[in-house]
């Protein structure tokens, strides 16, 4: 299952590729986002080692290209974006909108967790401080979790996307008949050049692909400079997000004055980390769950006299047979909120109403003492 010969990017012969495909297929997935140097081991590499390297590989390849994104919401609405994306490793992004018409000219520059958005129709640059002062590193422990919940397969034949060779990697939940995710990965850079996300019923949720891609390009000195967004008459506004701190696993139960409920596992999702947003007294505990591929966030806060509050545009949904929550979709995420009498709880995830409701149904019995 491991490559026995060094991989020579861009110069491999067709015969070599044919012979190596069965050997490399698992590695293509596991090294998604990896740099060239990662894909050229001199000795047999274990899947675990490749996976650990892939966790940081997206920070090692610079590129620019045009990306098309189509998103289908729960309510049937379809939104299409065209953007010019530039990424300078390790953590600089520049995204300029070409479509839809209402967003043409909008530019986002992201440096680490700092973010500047230029909104041309208002001549405003919106600067956002880090949403989370804590940026936890991906943990290698997710590989067994991924394997336990998903089957991963790789197409034997390469496809060309953005004039680059890619291999299709399909990720299917073990208890489902449909793929949940398809990735077309450039084996030489690890970049994902096309991505299709599906709902559990098999319908498409998001499709994104690059029509052109330039790897390791030369960027102008000002390409990622937020100062260049501030032309004449442009105002800068600040958005403050609450301060946050990591809560060690051992201390989670004591958060929110002992009211916090943090089941270590909810269905297939395992607790990864906990963040306290804001001050303890009126703060919100952000519990981060993962099933190895997908992520869900559970937010808990003490129920106060100010709550419960309604979320605009939300609809009521039954939870756990005897409670009522409110569901709303924001961007591509589903948001489900309810109140158990002591806590306000909110689940946010790349999931629809049915999936979030099922998650809440699984969660409710776990947090009732």
């Amino acid at each position: 299952m491991h490559p026995q010969r060094p991989i020579k990017p861009q110069v491999a012969k067709r015969a070599w590729i044919s012979a190596a495909i069965p050997v490399l297929l698992p590695c293509f997935f596991l090294t998604a986002g990896s740099s060239v140097s990662i894909a050229a081991p001199s000795a047999p590499v274990s899947a675990e080692a490749l996976y650990q390297q892939s966790l940081v590989s997206t920070q090692s390849v610079s590129y620019k290209g045009r990306e098309f994104i189509t998103q289908w919401n729960d309510d049937g609405r379809q939104i299409a974006y065209v953007t010019d994306v530039a990424h300078r490793a390790p953590d600089l992004f520049r995204i300029e909108y070409r479509a839809p018409r209402t967003m043409v000219g909008r530019v986002i520059i992201r440096s680490g967790a700092q973010e500047w958005t230029y909104i041309p129709e208002g001549k405003v640059v919106l600067h956002t401080a880090p949403p989370s002062a804590v940026r936890s590193k991906p943990t290698p422990g997710k590989l067994p979790l991924l394997k336990s919940n998903y089957n991963v397969s790789v197409s034997p034949l390469p496809e060309r996307i953005a004039d680059r060779k890619t291999f299709l990697v399909s990720v299917r939940p073990k208890d489902a008949a449909h793929d949940l995710l398809r990735l077309w990965i450039d084996p030489y850079t690890g970049l994902v050049l096309r991505r299709e996300k599906f709902r559990p019923d098999g319908t498409l949720s998001v499709v994104s692909y690059f029509s052109e891609m330039d790897v390791h390009p030369t960027f102008s000195a000002s390409a990622f400079s937020p100062d260049k967004l501030k032309g004449s008459g442009v105002r800068q506004m600040e958005r403050r997000d609450p301060t946050s701190r990591l809560v060690p696993h051992a201390n989670v139960a004591g958060a929110l004055f002992g009211l916090a409920q943090a089941p270590p596992q909810i269905g297939k999702f395992k607790l990864q980390s906990a963040i306290m947003m804001g001050q303890e007294q009126g703060g919100t505990l952000h519990l981060r769950y993962s099933d190895g591929l997908n992520t869900l966030s559970l937010f808990e806060s003490r129920r106060t006299s100010k709550g419960p509050t309604h979320v605009s545009g939300s609809t009521p949904v039954p939870i756990n047979r005897n409670m009522v929550g409110r569901y709303v979709q924001r961007y591509s995420y589903g948001v489900l909120s309810w109140d158990d009498g002591r806590l306000n709880l909110t689940i946010v995830g790349d999931a629809n109403e049915q999936m979030l409701t099922e998650f809440a149904d699984q969660l409710c019995p776990l947090i009732r003492n």
């Binding site: 997206t58 049937g76 919100t284 047979r321 961007y331």
Partner: protein
């Protein structure tokens, strides 16, 4: 369109989908939907229609300049009249028998209403539940989640950056308690308009 099972009127289900149902009605419908596929399908139809309606963009309405001047004058006039007499004035007065009769009818109606059952679901057996929203505004929670998701292997960082940026620009003050801290796209536009 599917007409539901008939145990709950379509208008009531429509109000439920619109978020207009509350209290006992809301709980009864929620419980009924757990067991009734027909009504569940009808609710799905309503939601689909709701989605189609949302696609229709309303033209912004603008009032003529004299509207605000007139509205302000009327408001001032009302205020000065109100200060002359603290008691509200009605066009008619209640007699004691009329008031007693209406009060009795209201009590009887409340008692009967509390016994109403929707099909097999006895609303008095459904525990009290609440409709809750998050303590932080939704856009802040979405940002926090998107930030977490962007730290995962195989994450689509460009798309997530767009989500983060959108959540920053479009946080709604009606979403939660800290929303006053979050500029909305509307407030951004207004601020810009005043500065220019």
């Amino acid at each position: 369109m599917n007409g539901g099972c008939g145990k709950i009127r379509e208008e009531v289900l429509s109000a439920y989908v619109d978020g207009m149902a509350d209290g006992a009605t809301l709980r009864a419908i929620a419980a009924h939907l757990l067991d009734c596929d027909a009504c569940k399908a009808l609710v799905a139809d309503f939601r689909h229609q709701q989605g189609l309606l949302r696609q229709l963009k309303a033209e912004p309405l603008s009032a003529p300049p004299e509207f605000w001047a007139n509205a302000y004058r009327v408001a001032r006039l009302s205020k000065s009249r109100g200060s002359q007499s603290a008691r509200p004035r009605f066009g008619f007065s209640w007699s004691v028998p009329q008031f007693a009769g209406i009060a009795l009818a209201a009590v009887v109606g409340a008692v009967i209403g509390s016994q109403v059952q929707f099909g097999r679901v006895d609303i008095t057996s459904v525990p009290v539940s609440r409709q809750a929203g998050p303590s932080l505004d939704v856009s802040t929670l979405v940002r926090a989640h998107a930030d977490y998701a962007s730290q995962q292997p195989l994450a689509d960082n460009a798309h997530l950056t767009m989500v983060l940026s959108d959540a920053s620009a479009q946080g709604s003050p009606s979403d939660g308690l800290l929303a006053a801290d979050a500029p909305t796209l509307g407030s951004v536009m207004n601020a810009s308009a005043t500065s220019d």
